[in-house]
Amino acid sequence: MGLKQKLHTLKEKYKGKKIAPAFNALHTFLFTPNDTTHGGTHIKAADDLKRTMNTVILALLPCLVFGIFNAGYQYHLATHEISAASSGFFSSEFWNWANFAVGAWKVIPLVLVSYGVGLAIEFVFAVIKKHEVEEGYLVTGMLVPLIVPVDIPLWMLAVAVAFGVIIGKEVFGGTGMNILNPALTIRAFLFFAYPTWMSGDKVWVHGAVERANELAAGMKVDAISGETILGSLAQNKALSYDTMDMFLGFIPGSVGETSTILILLGGLFLIFSKIGSWRIMVSAVLGALTMGFIFNNVVDAGWISEGSKFFGLMSLEFWKHLIIGGLAFGIVYMATDPVTASQTNKGKVIYGFLIGLISVLIRVFNPAYPEGVMLAILLMNVFAPTIDHYVVQGNINRRMKRLKVKNT
């Protein structure tokens, strides 16, 4: 008896029992079910939600791999064990086993905790509510480790994931029903619950916090700066990184957000596969550029002095906003979440544009927490239904007008 037949027998055995959703989740992971169509169309297209989610994960994998190497690279760079990458994207200073070992040691546990806690909660809810385990968390679970600082304690991540999945998603009814992007809910929870861990200049490079504690204890070691570019710009420090490094991603930051080029490739893949909305991505980029351009002009017009606390970020060339911080990552992977984004095509354009606009706005005017894209997306998540309402209302009004024309 083959595996297929054995599992089928088990499925029949568990049918109607409490354990069924949990078993089916594992079963359908191995085998696409033998369900056939009833009523309605007799044939169906090849895509299901698992395939859709899987495509997003595929698009995220390069960011994860890069993030692992970068975690090690930033650590070794800060401890002066290696020199900066010098020969472009494929520099041997970056892609080596030492970097991978340190990075994997830090990043893989994040992935495991994220999936472990999140999926466990999903299974429990599926069993309690007697529905199938839905696939939404597959993507969320991959996003979460990529948008947190590398040194975040695992218990903190576990608490945040539990909060995000239960309050952010399950209370609304699970995948497809949530209002806020679950991954960003998790990150927002971390940010507001443990602000010292999620901001400041110590958390973005592995070892920086530890080293600071050792220094405070009186040990004679060099300090490690774990500052992000946004953090230093917000303090009006000069930009210390090369543009190419920022584009390629050899900079400190959340685990998976740094490499703009890989994010760009991931975005193109999502657009090509028609899984990600090009409308949201393109309009968000335009929104960010627009806001950056406005700020550049404010600086050029001399309305703001060099002493102003907004000067550093306002004077940053407008297009550079896209290659620093989490803006690109947020636009490609988070803003495009179909459940929490606008659902109409026109709405998506407005929604995306405002995300770009507000991200840069928050960056510039909120130096305490210079990463604006998280808050911008969460804010627009809340407004997405409103945008859709007015777009759909346009359609309704057109229909009413047609009726009026006919009746006069």
Binding site: K4, H8, L49
Partner: protein
């Protein structure tokens, strides 16, 4: 004034087993069946009793709510059985056919000179009224209403559906008679959509407006054509007829007989030699399915096309409105890592490791597997790609699901029929039953507002 229709949004689904353009005569069926379920929302009131002899065209039953709407026997024979289901609802009437049909004579009627009332009475009495459907609600038309327009689609774009140019060729006289008669029943006109290319028998008809239609499926759905020619407003009623049924109406007018003869396409990947058959409404499909042969015993027989048809038993009977019978493989098997591995043998509108976009003209062999499980709505924007109406498909489906009558009306429920949502159902990543949701929504509106 005719308006040509060109649509861009949609999807042509090419399937294996398209019917070859050869016509055979199906062996005479021993029994014929009428299923009242084919007539949505009609409660039958029997006129004849079990065991009675009937002529082709004799009234079998009428609608309880509209006594004028009568349903007649497609052949002459003996009504052998009235099958009843739960709550004694009539599920099937079985007629054992005579060897040769004898017809009830309704008298010849010249549509050019007859007035509207005479035509309407004839259609009602001779059992042709069930061919006339109305929107809103996609049900058999209320004979007391006057439609603002009548729409007929003269082309079919659905996968494996019968090619109307072929199936109706040579029937110009009947079509003309039917169209002339129908043109008397509307205050507007009879609009007929024909394929831009091809030799449609409708092209040179009088008393109607011909519209050239081009684009992918659902260009051939009458709902798409209505939306582009004159969309249904609140308070409007339009009638729709299927092209093949016009032949029966035309023959009634010209000869006085209700001749239920129909050319049916037998198609699908399981059919050994897919082609066209001449048969009659309600005939056993086995008469021609086994004539052509099935290559796979584990097949599903569908009365109608693969997107909108009804599954029937291999020993079952042709549906009242069907002009296509399909046989496709049942897909009740598991597929190892079916959700993650690259897919070459199935159709998809995305490119998520699915490769049907490389070969848009290749014919696929799709089975009845759902390719995934039922989920809540998640993905957005993919319905719009295949949905040419100026309606928000996901929003109207959700309005139906929560039974929000005001919103359903505002979003355009009066304009749609379940078949308009067959393509969105096909591409739905969450495997939601769109046509059923819309049907239930329409039924609710009919009950509450209609």
């Amino acid at each position: 004034m005719s308006k040509d229709i060109k649509i861009r949004k949609g999807l042509n689904i090419h399937l294996k087993g398209e019917a070859a353009k050869t016509l055979s005569k199906a062996p005479r069926s021993r029994t014929f069946a009428i299923r009242p379920k084919d007539f949505h929302l009609i409660t039958p009131k029997m006129v004849v009793k079990e065991g009675a002899k009937v002529l082709a065209g004799d009234v079998l039953f009428y609608s309880k709510n509209h006594e004028a709407i009568k349903f007649v026997a497609p052949v002459s024979g003996t009504l052998t059985r009235i099958e009843r289901g739960a709550k004694r609802v009539i599920t099937e009437l079985l007629i054992e056919a005579d060897i040769q049909d004898s017809y009830k004579d309704y008298g010849v009627l010249k549509p050019d000179t007859a007035d509207a009332k005479t035509i309407k009475d004839l259609l009602l009495n001779a059992g042709c009224w069930p061919f006339v459907k109305q929107r809103p609600y996609d049900v058999i038309a209320n004979p007391e209403s006057t439609p603002s327009n009548i729409f007929i689609s003269g082309l079919s774009t659905a996968p494996l559906a019968a090619d109307l140019d072929f199936a109706l060729s040579g029937k110009e006289a009947e079509l003309q008679a039917a169209v002339s008669a129908l043109s008397k029943l509307t205050e507007g006109s009879v609009h007929i959509g024909v394929a831009k290319k091809g030799n449609s028998p409708f092209r040179n008809l009088q008393h109607c407006q011909i519209h050239e239609v081009s684009g992918p499926h659902p260009a051939g759905n009458v709902g798409t054509q209505i939306a582009k020619i004159a969309p249904v407003n609140k308070g409007d009623v339009v009638w729709t007829l299927a092209a093949q049924d016009l032949v029966i109406i035309g023959e009634l007018l010209l000869t006085g007989k209700f001749n239920a003869e129909r050319i049916v396409a037998l198609a699908g990947a399981s059919v050994k030699s897919p082609k066209y058959y001449t048969t009659k409404i309600g005939a056993e499909v086995a008469t021609f399915v086994y004539d052509s042969g099935l290559s796979d015993d584990h097949s599903r027989i569908i009365s109608g096309d693969v997107l909108t048809g009804t599954q029937i038993n291999p020993k079952g009977h042709l549906g009242y409105y069907a002009n296509t019978v399909c046989a496709i493989h049942e897909g009740d098997d598991y597929e190892f890592f079916g959700w993650s591995k690259p897919v070459f043998k199935k159709i998809s509108t995305t490119r998520a490791l699915t490769f049907s976009w490389l070969t848009p003209n290749k014919a696929f062999d799709l089975d009845t597997n759902t390719n995934g499980e039922h989920r809540a709505f998640v993905v957005t924007g993919n319905y719009e790609e295949v949905f040419p109406l100026d309606i928000y498909p996901m929003q109207i489906l959700k309005a139906c699901m929560v039974k929000d009558l005001d919103q359903m009306e505002a979003l355009g429920m009066y304009e749609v029929a379940p078949e308009d949502f067959s393509l969105t159902e096909f591409v739905c990543v969450s495997k939601q039953p769109h046509q059923k949701i819309i049907r239930d929504g329409l039924d609710l509106m009919y009950k509450e507002i209609g």
